[in-house]
């Protein structure tokens, strides 16, 4: 797909005449082929259709329609779960239709739990709903070998943990502050990243797409950056471990994504994180005294991002050779 970028670059360098550019894009393979279009349209109809139907059920449950009895509502959602699982059994998990149906079934199970809580007023906390949902679909995630399904599971798990700490944070605010939550989320997402990189590297795992581990690396990197910033600004007696974890994350991240599995995206996350923490440190000590402090911080931001960009380009150039 990136043939387009090269062809446009050559045109900008004057190697392709402007009036030849549209033809060059066609000849150079920048446009999708008939087979590409077929695949795209098929995937779009399948995934968008599935997403709309699953979302429709969630909206329907949320409406809490009085005109429909409790058994009719439960029966409807359960029938849809069974139907989705029927599709999975019919087409198998190796095909896109099977993966889409399993994802829909996983979403519908969440709607079912919400419906049970709505009808029977179980008194359960919201985090319990998400925890139960996550546990219920974990076996499907394990057998599904599907990146979107695992990302859904991870999102549910993150929500359950956050809601748990939010609930008890209100009760014991001093014991369970936001820093504790950030540590737990950081540990969980970093473990998930490690597991993904270990399993996803196996070609048969069906989890080889890079977008999901990149998303996890971004989440993990953001969390540890916030923890480090808490330490730098000494926010409400931060533990002091944030800086250590952050330095470790950067070091290990560098070794893994520079040496073992080259990934420019994760390296860019690391550079952004370093800029954020260093600028916070410099800003804390310079800003507020006199105007010149702002100028120094501005120059530090600009200098660091320029150095970071240069380094990332150099790494990209190694890949390009």
């Amino acid at each position: 797909m990136s043939a387009r970028r090269d062809i446009l670059d050559w045109a900008e360098q004057g190697r392709i005449a402007p009036h030849d550019l549209p033809r060059a894009l066609r000849v150079g393979g920048a446009h999708p082929t008939a087979a590409d279009w077929r695949h795209f349209v098929e995937q779009l109809l399948l995934w968008l259709g599935t997403a709309l139907v699953a979302a429709a059920v969630v909206f329907f449950v949320a409406y809490n329609w009085d005109a429909l009895g409790r058994f009719a509502k439960l029966g409807l959602v359960e029938a849809l779960v069974v139907a989705a699982l029927g599709v999975v059994a019919w087409v198998g998990l190796d095909r896109a239709a099977g993966k889409a149906a399993l994802l829909a079934a996983a979403v519908l199970v969440g709607a079912l739990f919400a419906l049970v809580g709505q009808i029977y007023q179980t008194g359960a906390d919201t985090f319990e709903l998400f925890a139960a949902w996550g546990l219920a679909i974990l076996p499907w995630a394990l057998v599904g070998r599907s990146a979107p399904l695992w990302v859904l599971w991870l999102a549910i798990a993150n929500l359950a943990v956050t809601l748990y700490y939010t609930t008890f944070g209100v009760l014991f605010g001093l014991l369970l502050g936001p820093e504790r939550l950030l540590w737990v989320l950081f540990g969980f997402n970093t473990l998930a990243l490690v597991a993904w990189e270990a399993v996803g590297s196996r070609a048969d795992a069906g989890l080889a797409a890079r977008w999901a581990p990149r998303l996890l690396a971004a989440v993990s990197g953001t969390l540890v950056t916030v923890l480090a910033i808490f330490d730098v600004v000494s926010w409400r007696g931060a533990s002091g471990g944030g800086i250590v974890a952050w330095a470790g994350w950067l070091g290990v991240g560098y070794l893994v994504y520079r040496e073992w599995r080259r990934d420019l995206f994760v390296l860019a996350v690391g550079v952004s994180s370093a800029i954020a923490v260093i600028v916070t440190f410099v800003g804390r000590h310079l800003v507020g005294h006199e105007a010149g402090g702002f100028l120094i911080v501005a120059l530090v931001v600009i200098g660091l991002s320029a150095v970071g960009t240069k380094w990332l380009r150099a790494v990209a150039a190694e890949d390009d050779r």
């Binding site: 797909m1 090269d6 360098q13 008939a34």
Partner: protein, 358 residues
């Protein structure tokens, strides 16, 4: 793209007589996430620069004329730096931050000098940004200028009570910039930068426009004025028309007659989304992003389209102009039709190898 793939592309172009000689040395371009990092740092740098200037020349900010002149000087210096050191990362980042700070000062000066009239100030600022787009030869700066200019155009429309037209108009402009042979041949890389700026604006408007419509309905004590409601429906219709027209144009471009079996299925699927978009504003522009991204061979743009679609659907849950039950029915019907279309496509075009030539 690997060096081998690049050499292969060059060879194909050479065989077609479109290029001559050896391929030029590779000019490394920053991936989108490096540009995002640069943009974010530029913003942060600009904020500190503004604070520095504000602290040093606080009296200056009391005079709109002086602020305007200082802003123009900053932007002028940035343009000069971009032109003088086109390959320096530090100069580029510094110029970007200085330009952003200058733009903020110009906007403030114009706001005060032009009587704080939103539409007029936005139009004037749009012109400033268009000038910067033309003068500063930096891709990141051009994308920023194009996006900001699009936001200014939206503010002009907003001030004239015509904001609902923006998503459809911008989506049409986006398709033209990315897919038209004429735009590419005439403007080349600048069309790309403008296309990215407009793409960001369309993704943003897909959600923001719907939110504003909700807000407008909520704050209107006596309901939404009839002219504004009419404009809303025209805007929603315009987005739907742009989406269906784009799909038809793409089908024709690919050599499949719109009335052939496969063309009809694809067109029907798009029409369903366009119809759903009437009740869920934002869906059609997001779909335009996705279609244009795929048709232009840009994974990044297609990815932005997917994100915009997800954001629009998530926001739709909170939209108050339709009940959750109505939304549920609409989505169930639309989703069901799309899945039927998927089944029909597999039957009409089994194997995926067939191409219906017009």
């Amino acid at each position: 793209m690997s060096a081998a793939a690049r050499a292969q592309t060059w060879a194909r172009l050479a065989a077609a007589g479109l290029v001559q000689g050896e391929p030029p040395p590779t000019r490394l371009q920053s991936p989108w996430y490096v540009r995002v990092m640069q943009g974010g740092s530029g913003w942060l740098g600009a904020l500190f620069l503004l604070s520095f200037v504000g602290g040093l020349f606080s009296l200056l900010f009391r005079s709109p004329e002086a602020t305007l002149v200082l802003g123009v000087a900053a932007c002028g210096a940035a343009v000069l730096a971009f032109r003088r050191w086109p390959d320096s990362d530090f100069a580029g980042q510094l110029a970007f931050a200085v330009s952003l700070a200058g733009q903020a000062m110009i906007a403030y000066g114009l706001w005060k000098l032009l009587g704080e009239r939103l539409g007029v100030v936005a139009a004037a600022m749009g012109l400033v940004l268009a000038g910067l787009f033309a003068l500063a030869p930096s891709t990141l700066h051009r994308i920023w200028s194009a996006w900001s200019a699009a936001c200014c155009a939206w503010l002009v429309l907003f001030d004239a009570e015509l904001a609902p037209l923006a998503p459809g108009l911008f989506a049409a402009g986006l398709a033209w910039l990315w897919l038209s042979d004429g735009a590419l041949a005439r403007f080349g890389g600048r069309a790309q930068a403008a296309g990215w700026g407009l793409a960001l604006a369309v993704a943003q408007l897909a959600v923001v426009a719907a939110m504003l419509w909700e807000l407008r309905r909520l704050v209107g004590v006596a309901g939404v004025p009839a002219p504004y409601e009419a404009v809303h429906w025209v805007g929603v219709g315009l987005s739907a028309v742009v989406l269906v027209a784009l799909a038809g144009w793409l089908i024709a471009r690919e050599g499949r007659a719109a009335l052939s079996g496969t063309g009809l299925v694809a067109l029907a699927g798009v029409a369903v989304v366009a119809l759903l978009g009437v009740k869920a504003p934002g869906l059609a522009p997001a779909m335009v992003l996705l279609l244009v991204g795929f048709a232009a061979g840009s994974r990044e743009l297609a990815g932005l389209g997917v994100l915009a679609l997800l954001a629009t659907l998530s926001h739709y849950y909170y939209a108050l102009h339709v009940t959750l039950l109505e939304k549920s029915l609409l989505m169930a019907v639309a989703g069901g039709v799309l899945l039927l279309a998927w089944l029909a496509l597999r039957r009409l075009w089994p194997g995926g190898g067939e191409v219906d030539r017009a």
